[in-house]
Structures are given as structure tokens and as C-alpha cells.
Symmetry: C2
Subunit: 377 residues, 2 copies
């Protein structure tokens, strides 16, 4: 797709250009013609690689004729009005606000439909972005790890991207929200609609402080092709993708394959070789994905071992006097629970205080259980 | 240590040379002077790196004088007689029967003490050798995987080395024995003595078809230094070391470090990041160890993906008529349980037959659950 001038087609609405809106409509219109969801691994829907003309030409018979007619008569102003009416803002590919990392991905969506605000999307994407994805039927283990990753990365000031699907995705979003972190849900249907519907409450919490994003215009239905299509966006906006649990045919493996193809960092959480839900993740590890045991491994991958992101949230919060002592001790190298307790502190209150410090991002934990001061509050 | 001519010092006994026997005695005598077990990772006992003269010189005071006197008066003939009386055979480093792979390892033992036979040791080491090691307090998960690895590698004709310790080690040996496979126990005390004593029955089964090996002469006591010392032998004789479960301070990590230092293949079984018993193994994976999900990953590492070792045992056994059909189907590409069942077979008998075929080594299972014919019985 060639860049073309951004044009405000709906007075009072978000800027969006006619070509991008038309392309967006065409992809949504034709995507459902292909049975993409049956494809696995690196086979992403062809629809993203073909020009408008070739796409239309590929549709045979009466449907093709109808699509051609609709395409030629496309009313961008009306499309922009529909977004406005649904409370959805747009960012088209030729808009400077379009996510730079996603723009570099082949077949990136022509238009991102946003609930929660264009500006907020920009702010969230300006931070380091990591996607956490995984199986819908995650195990208790997987859900625990996803939530813990969400908490840790959210507290570290990163933006966590996921698909708000049942299971791992939702646990990751929930973890981020627990620490008032930044999170983006990329949805397989219209951005204005919680999908799945059972995640309505989570959706509301996400768009209250973060954003929901979709490739589809308002009213867009989730179809089979929408899931792998959505997954390419998740990987496309993220510097690193982490798969927490995935069976052999999990859609998360598509996200992982896209991340690899884009040359992004890919991590996977190890799991039992006897668990079907770890088949996909252990396979990713066998093929070279980074081992992710917790937030520290993600931060190491992004920033290099030993370097830690300084959280934007919480950094200004005053540290209570009783926590100051712990922070000082950790800063002075007394950095394991054993050492802290060994130096005369009682176990229970120390554990509680450490959890509190970790939660707000003042300290982090490294492999081996060593605590490290992130913000010398 | 320089090579010196093998000399039969005990008439009727196994050939062993005086210098090697004396060196072996000295290491056993002095090893206990050092607190080696406290060292971790790549720090192996210094005792293996120093010459006899420097070792003796390093021992101060009255003990040093006593050791020097004993060393000068060492009676190799009597030492060989003690081995003979204990039913222990010896292979010294300058003996052509000394394991070639171990001989290339720095600080290799001067003498291997063997129960089960010198010739059998040679035959076992002539096959591809893989060590399976892990935590004494292995979880049910770890024990299951260790046993399954032992079964699979034993059935594939490999020799499995371990330390007969409680937990993972013993489970691995037991798995090998279940399929009448080849196994070697490397013990931290004298080879004639089951260690730990509770593994007496397993020891008897091991030496009935395999061998028990020790660096220590008969009567040698297990001391702290003996465990890391033993671990270097396990890694030293193996083309690949697989750690099944290991806590952060597990002795298995010493075995792993030695394997790495020797440039041998190193594998680890992934486990839950929330399990302390997988801390060490997941750390090995993070540092580049190969992901071992089952026997197929070990065979792939040793022989290259897709190539399979042809089992020596079981290869000549006739395949029952009712199993022939399954073998043929798998050979023809109907290679997953789903496909086999989908083609009209009942689940239960198919599972039973597959387990039987797998047990005797006629088929193996690859990542993804695909069966592969190993011996076209």
C-alpha cells in the first residue's frame, strides 16, 4: 500500500483517508471469503498481501461483481460517520500516529479502529510493548504465570498487549490492571464490542485506562479469519511476544510465528512435557525461543541482562517509612529473603513488605530470588 | 598424568598398574581433606588437577607427613588383592579398555573400579552413552519423565548412565531395566556397595546386566567430595547429559557444568516456572541447553533430526500378527493416534498395542505425538 495524504473525511471526526478506509472495508468484506483459520504456522491470510485490484479480481462470479460494485461506490464519509457514531476513532496507515512498529510489518492493517482514544493509544505504544498470549483453556499454572507476568511487566512500566481471549490473554490483562499498568486489547471483532461477550467487565476496565483496538470497522463480526488476522497485529505492535501456554495447534503459535518472521523477540514459558498445554510452548523453546520464567527474563531480553526498566507509574509515590529500611537493605546488597530474614527481620512482615514493594514496582526479583531495587524511592 | 605400562600386579587379578593404583589411593585419601561439596557450578575439586607431588605438598603438618609415608610405602599388590577379594575389577587410565571419552576429560580418575565386569563395561560404553540425572527429591512429574526417558533410550539401544541416587537417578535406571536396556551406575562410594543402602535391590538389578563403577577402591566411604567427583565421571563418559529436575543448588548442575566444559551435549527437561525443582533445569534451558521433552529429543540431538538409532535389543524379536497391522499403518504414514483410531481401530486396544510396540523399541514417538517405525520388524 502506498502512503497517501490523510484527509479528514468526516467533519468533527478523527482524520482518516478515503483510500485507507476503503481498503479496510475491502479486507473485512473479503476476509470471510477465505478459510484462513484452517491454516497454521506461518501461513497468514493471503488477503493482506494482495492489492485491492488483485483481491477483487480473485473473487469469482456474482460475488466478485457485487464486491467490485460496492468498492467503486464506497462512501468513505459514511464509513467515518459510522465510526464516530460507535465511539470508535481511527488511525490509518498514512497517519503519523499509526504505530511505527506495526507499520513495518508486511500486510499491516490499513486502519486501526480504537476505543479509548487515539492519543492514549499513541502514549501506550510509546512505551516498550510486550504481548502475552496463550491458550483459551489455560491451566491454573498458566493463568497464574500470565497474571504474574502482567503484574510484573505492568509494574515495570511496559505496555502489555493481548487479545482479551478467555484464559491466558484475559489473565495477562487482569494482572496488568491489578497494578494500574498499561494494556491494549486487540480484538477479533469491532473495537466497540467486547469479544468474547463474557469478558464485558474486563473490556470496560481495559478501555477505562487503556485501549481496545481492531482492524475491523464498527459492527465487524468475529469470523474464523479474524483470529489469525488479529494475532498478526498483536505480534506486529510488540517488541517481544511471550507465549505462556499453547497446545500443538494453538492460535498463539501464529502470533509467535509472526513475531519470529518480523524479527521480534520471542519468549515462551516452560511447562511440563506431560502437559498438552505446554506442547506448543516447549516446542517454541526447542526451536530457540527465549525461556521466560517471569518478568525479569522479559526485561533482560528487552534491555539486556541486569538492566531494568524504570517504572513510570509508582515512581513518584512516597515509600512508607517501614518499607524504606527494606529498600535500603536490598540496595546495600542484602538482597535475598534469606539474607533479609537472617539479618533479624521477622519472616511474615518482611514477606508482606516485599510483596508490597514488588507490586508497586519499587523492587523486582531476579532469577535466584534476589531482589533488586528498581526505583530508589 | 602420563601413560605408563599396564602391569598385572596381582596374579590372577585384573591388570592394573602400580602408578594408577597409587594415584587412585592418594585421591581417595586426600579428597576428604577438602570441603568440595560446598563448591558449586564449575568449581570441581582441585584434587583432580594436581600431580601426586603437589597434592602431598599441599597437605600441611602431621597429616602431610603421614600421607607422604603411606604414599612412599604404597603396596599396589595388596591394593589389587583387596579389589579381587571384594569382587571389584579395575580399569586404569593407561589400560586400552579405559573409556576413551572419559580419558579425554581433564582430571579423569586414575582407576575405575567396576562391579559387573570389565568386558561388560567396555560393551556398554561402546554404545551411545547418555546420562540422565536429577534431584534426589524429584517430583512425581520428574520421576515419571526420568523413567520414561530411561525406557525410551534403553529401548533405543543407548547406554544410560546415572548415579543411582534417590529420586530422578534411580527412576532413570529403573526405566532402562524395565525394557532390558543397558545401564551404568556411577557410585560415590566403593563400587561393591549399594549407595544409598536403600537402593540395594536396584543395585542388584543393575549389576546383573549392567555395571556399577566407582573411582574409590573397595571400602571407600561416600563423603561430601565424592558427589561432585562422581558427577564429573557421569558427565565424562556420556555423549550427552540430560538433567530432568534440579533445584537451584542441585548437584546435577555440577554434572551439567562438566558436560558443558567438556563440550558434550547438554539437555534439560522443561518444568513449571513455579516449581523449585525446575529452577535449575529452566535455568539451563535459558542458558542454551537443549529442550528434552522425551527420548526423541535426545536421539535428535545425538544423531540429527529424523535419524533414529536402531535398537540392538528387540530387533530380532518377532512381531505378533496383531501388531504387524499397526506397524504397517504407521510405516505407511498413518502415524498419529488420531489417524490410527480414525481409520477404524478401537482406541483401547490400539493404545495397548502402541505401548507394547514402543516398549520393545519397534516404534518411537516424535514431538507432536507422531509414531515412527524404528525397526521394520
Amino acid at each position: 500500500m502506498n502512503a497517501h495524504p490523510a484527509t479528514a473525511v468526516a467533519p468533527g471526526g478523527a482524520p482518516a483517508c478515503e483510500d485507507c478506509l476503503r481498503r479496510s472495508w475491502l479486507v473485512a468484506r473479503l476476509g470471510a471469503q477465505f478459510d484462513f483459520a484452517r491454516r497454521r504456522g506461518r501461513d497468514l491470510p493471503l488477503v493482506f498481501d494482495l492489492s485491492d485490484e488483485r483481491l477483487i479480481a480473485a473473487v469469482a462470479g456474482a460475488v466478485g461483481t457485487e464486491v467490485k460494485r460496492e468498492y467503486d461506490g464506497f462512501d468513505a464519509g459514511a464509513a467515518a460517520e459510522r465510526c464516530l457514531a460507535a465511539g470508535v476513532q481511527t488511525v490509518c496507515r498514512c497517519d503519523p500516529a499509526y504505530p511505527a512498529r506495526l507499520a513495518r510489518a508486511p500486510g499491516a492493517p490499513a486502519v486501526l479502529h480504537v476505543v479509548g482514544g487515539r492519543e492514549r493509544l499513541g502514549a501506550l505504544l510509546a512505551a516498550d510493548c510486550v504481548s502475552i498470549v496463550g491458550a483459551r483453556r489455560g491451566s491454573a499454572y498458566g493463568l497464574e504465570v500470565a497474571r504474574s507476568l502482567g503484574r510484573g511487566l505492568g509494574a515495570a512500566g511496559l505496555t502489555v498487549i493481548s487479545g482479551m481471549a478467555l484464559g491466558i490473554d484475559s489473565a495477562a490483562h487482569a494482572g496488568v490492571l491489578e497494578v494500574q499498568g498499561a494494556t491494549i486489547a486487540v480484538l477479533p471483532a469491532g473495537a466497540e464490542r467486547p469479544y468474547p461477550a463474557s469478558k464485558r467487565a474486563l473490556y470496560r476496565r481495559i478501555v477505562a485506562s487503556g485501549v481496545a483496538v481492531s482492524e475491523l470497522p464498527p459492527g465487524g463480526e468475529s469470523r474464523r479469519w479474524g483470529f489469525p488476522a488479529r494475532n498478526r497485529i498483536i505480534a506486529g505492535v510488540s517488541a517481544m511476544t511471550v507465549v505462556v501456554e499453547a497446545g500443538e495447534r494453538s492460535g498463539s503459535l501464529i502470533t509467535a510465528a509472526v513475531a519470529e518472521d518480523l524479527g521480534r523477540l520471542l519468549g515462551a514459558v516452560p511447562g511440563r512435557v506431560t502437559s498438552g498445554l505446554s506442547t506448543g510452548t516447549n516446542e517454541l523453546l526447542a526451536r530457540g525461543a527465549r525461556v521466560v520464567r517471569g518478568p525479569a527474563d522479559v526485561l533482560d531480553a528487552l534491555f539486556g541482562a541486569g538492566v531494568r526498566a524504570v517504572p513510570e507509574r509508582g515512581a513518584g509515590e512516597p515509600v512508607r517509612a517501614e518499607l524504606r529500611d527494606l529498600l535500603d537493605a536490598i540496595g546495600a546488597g542484602c538482597d535475598t529473603l534469606g539474607a533479609l530474614v537472617g539479618s533479624g527481620r521477622a519472616v511474615e512482615p518482611t514477606l508482606t513488605a516485599l510483596a508490597e514493594l514488588e507490586l508497586v514496582g519499587h523492587i523486582g526479583r531476579e532469577a535466584g530470588g534476589r531482589y533488586v531495587v528498581r526505583v530508589p524511592g
